[in-house]
């Protein structure tokens, strides 16, 4: 197992410096020396001249003096000198260089066999202009809440060819041929990473070396097909460090030749070539119609949740909790809106009954179920009963899952309780408002224990519901709303402490993504509770009890925002999309 570097903060919690253009110029200056490389770089182009003609883009005339120095004229303009690095992948040559004195450069893929070429024009300090134009066209305010994002690499992709005898009509194209694939990579610089291509405009990474393999993160990505077994994959770590990565992937020999360009969280320049050896860890299903190869992929959107996520003060959150708390329609029932389009029938089995849950090293709560909608609760030992609306579902036979507000203390919280009538066991997930980062994020606390009520079995002394990694690697689609196509997403249960969600585009291809911490517990064989908090996003706590035999869930969402504190229902239908074999790469260091 390669080195793992656990981090006190994962990517989404790091306060990346909002660098000025001047600072970016200073920090990028060493990039004029070209990329470094652990592996021997290619001399394939030394002494050669090539003219790359692109569709609608620049004409690039290169003279490669040797294996490290080139001259470039863009569109017939003044010739500049630059230092470059190159790697070969069969007939492909990956070339990367910056233009000295600027914040831009090119990463080129040239196919010496076909004469085709793809140019990535990569530049920094470009977000502001691009976003201003995009906002004007869409008639919306520009997104500058998190600064000008000068550190975030931008790219323009130009398809073209090397000018020789006649212009070929073929081109490299966007593709979905990598969609659904996961690969474990071990790079020549001792970096180990898992990459998952679950979308045609995004990808997932589990940074085993750099970030300890705890979480998966997402990045907007491009996928370009060179031929049946060679692809160009690139990503930009938008909303994080802004680093640009591009690699040639060869699925015949499972190698990668890549370049990484950007500033890390310490604002240190990383500009290097790398090679890697990979192993496919799985291939899941994709959901476009047959014949859709994504060659005419539309614009690549970037999801920027930090721009839309409000930040509330503690007093504001308290006000919402006190004065605008709503659960399950405040007694009228939750309805089937939102994420509850396929919720099951509400269960009233305990109406008129009492029960108590007893958590190991946690709270004990007494319940008096007044009817099918209202309950009274109190912490064991309290004399005062409190009332709350609740809804209860039966995700598996004699397994019940219900939720209600807890209003006895601040921060405000909720209880999501699983009652296992076959085993006498109970699991309590207490969701509360507030994290060290935002007052209006939520966080869960898990407790495992038992419960007592009339008819419940004697619980075991030692056995409990508990943590599990059985879901790690699974991908499941969830359909939340009826309609064509309704509201659907795919979950990727990536590590024992994280998951990612992928939003399908109108044509069924994978689209934008985000990821969050996640927790997985097992109640029975094939029945799990999966919880997540949309950190650095909506702040919502989502908890589902997932029955893999029914491919159905029963769950709840807990959220606080300027529109109130809410407890709502989740009910969706699942389809299995596949599973990645990745557990052996994850977990604690030996």
């Amino acid at each position: 197992m390669a080195q793992r570097h656990y981090r006190p903060l994962q990517m989404h919690r790091i306060a990346y410096t909002d660098l000025t253009e001047t600072q970016m110029t200073q920090l990028l200056r060493p990039a004029a020396n070209g990329p470094s490389s652990r592996s021997v770089v290619s001399n394939a182009l030394a002494g050669k001249r090539i003219k790359i003609v692109t569709d609608g883009g620049p004409i690039l005339e290169y003279a490669f003096r040797n294996g490290r120095e080139l001259e470039l004229s863009e569109n017939g303009g003044k010739t500049i000198k630059a230092k470059y690095g190159a790697l070969e992948s069969r007939s492909l040559v990956l070339i990367s260089h910056m233009i000295p004195g600027t914040q831009r450069g090119y990463t080129l893929t040239v196919d010496q066999r076909t004469g085709l070429a793809t140019a990535f024009e990569v530049f920094f300090s470009g977000y502001a202009a691009i976003e201003t134009a995009a906002a004007a066209e869409a008639k919306r305010p520009p997104q500058f809440k998190m600064g000008r994002r000068n550190r975030e690499a931008q790219r323009k992709i130009w398809f073209g060819y090397v000018d020789s005898d006649g212009a070929p009509t073929a081109r490299h194209t966007f593709t979905n041929r990598l969609e659904g694939k996961g690969i474990h990579w071990r790079q020549d610089n001792d970096i180990e990473i898992l990459e998952f291509y679950l979308s045609i405009i995004y990808s997932n990474m589990i940074e085993l070396t750099r970030f300890g393999g705890e979480m998966t993160t997402c990045a907007p990505s491009d996928y370009i097909m060179v031929n049946d077994h060679q692809f160009i994959y690139s990503r930009i770590e938008c909303e994080f460090a802004g680093t640009f990565t591009l690699q040639l992937i060869d699925l015949f020999d499972m190698t990668q030749k890549g370049v990484r360009l950007g500033l890390n969280e310490k604002d240190e320049l990383e500009y290097y070539l790398y090679t890697g050896q990979g192993e496919v860890v799985g291939q899941i299903a994709s959901f476009e119609a047959f014949g859709n190869n994504a060659e005419t992929r539309g614009a690549r959107r970037v999801y920027r949740p930090l721009e839309t996520f409000e930040t509330m003060s503690d007093a504001e959150v308290k006000d919402q909790a006190l004065n605008h708390a709503h659960s399950f329609g405040d007694g009228k029932g939750s309805g089937a809106a939102g994420m509850a389009g396929y919720k099951s029938e509400v269960v009233t089995r305990f109406a008129g009954k009492q029960l108590s849950i007893r958590m190991d090293n946690g709270p004990a709560i007494d319940y008096d179920f007044v009817d099918g909608k209202k309950l009274k609760w109190r912490y064991a030992g309290d004399g005062h009963w409190r009332e709350a609306w609740y809804e209860m579902y039966e995700p598996d036979e004699e397994l019940y899952f219900f939720a209600h507000f807890l209003d006895a203390e601040f921060p405000r919280s909720c209880a999501m309780v699983a009652l296992d009538m076959k085993n006498g066991l109970s699991t309590l997930l207490k969701g509360a408002t507030g994290t060290p980062f935002r007052n209006n994020e939520t966080h869960p606390t898990y407790y495992f224990g038992t419960f007592q009520t009339e008819g419940a079995p004697t619980p075991p002394t030692y056995l409990r519901h508990g943590w599990t990694d059985e879901m790690v690697g699974e991908c499941v689609t969830w359909n939340y709303q009826r309609g064509n196509p309704g509201l659907s997403s795919m979950h990727f249960y990536a590590t024992p402490s994280t998951y990612s969600w992928i939003i399908f585009q109108p044509d069924g291809s994978g689209g934008m993504q985000w990821s969050s911490p996640g927790w997985y517990s097992k109640l029975r064989d094939g029945v799990y509770i999966m919880a997540w908090v949309e950190e650095a996003c909506n702040g919502t706590l989502g908890v589902i009890c997932f029955n893999q035999r029914l491919m159905h869930d029963a769950g709840f969402g807990f959220h606080v925002g300027s529109r109130g504190l809410s407890l709502s229902v989740i009910g969706a239908r699942a389809r299995h999309a596949g599973k990645f074999n990745i557990k052996q790469y994850l977990g604690l260091k030996a």
């Binding site: 809106a337 994420m339 309704g486 399908f504 109108p506």
Partner: protein, 205 residues
């Protein structure tokens, strides 16, 4: 010499369209309109042809005006779509009703761009009954009315402020999509030499 009565009768006639959205309206009518009586004196024939040419141009302009409207709606260029209407125009689009150009602009901004409408027109395609399209221009060439048959893709927007819905809307996803046959009833007026839409309503077939 051609009487004024015969001039008016030649300017007002029912046309039958072809394959494309309104294209047949121009093609078949145009061919018929170019036939001139052989016994007519040359000057009269020339005047006749000039009238018919103006009429053809008007019909094509109205057809293009309507095509532009549908293209702008498909491209979500709602502000530009609103500019195709005159000051007092009316719009009825599957539950989105508006009066006046400013009202139409506002309706498209709120109901369409902000996806507040229950149903949105997302795309259009040719109709099997396009041959039933009709276009009539008034004698004085100042007013026109038309019926354009079309198939419309109607979408129900995704609702909710939760993350999944927000992300799906950003990608152009809809809660529900379906195609239906329908027709546009369009009234146009010539304003300062340019045709504008005075009334546009969509009806399901």
């Amino acid at each position: 010499m051609t009487t004024s009565h015969s001039k008016r009768s030649r300017r007002t006639f029912f046309l039958q369209g072809g394959a494309a959205l309104g294209a047949g309206v121009a093609a078949s009518g145009g061919a018929a309109a170019l036939i001139v009586e052989r016994t007519m004196p040359a000057n009269d024939a020339l005047a006749e042809l000039q009238q018919r040419l103006v009429l053809l141009e008007d019909r094509e302009a109205i057809r293009q005006l309507h095509l532009t409207f549908t293209q702008l709606i498909e491209a979500q260029q709602y502000e530009a779509a609103a500019e195709l209407f005159n000051e007092t125009a009316q719009l009825q689009l599957s539950g989105v009703n508006a009066q006046g150009r400013s009202g139409i602009r506002q309706a498209l901004a709120v109901q369409y761009r902000d996806q507040q409408a229950d149903v949105l027109h997302n795309a259009y395609r040719h109709s099997a009954v396009q041959k039933n399209d009709s276009l009539t221009v008034s004698d004085d060439g100042q007013y026109a009315s038309a019926t354009f048959h079309v198939e419309a893709e109607l979408c129900a927007p995704l609702r909710g402020d939760f993350t999944l819905a927000q992300m799906a809307r950003l990608q152009g996803c809809a809660a529900d999509r379906r195609w239906e046959a329908g027709r546009f009833k369009v009234e146009c007026v010539r304003t300062q030499g340019q045709w504008k839409i005075a009334s546009l309503s969509y009806q399901s077939a």
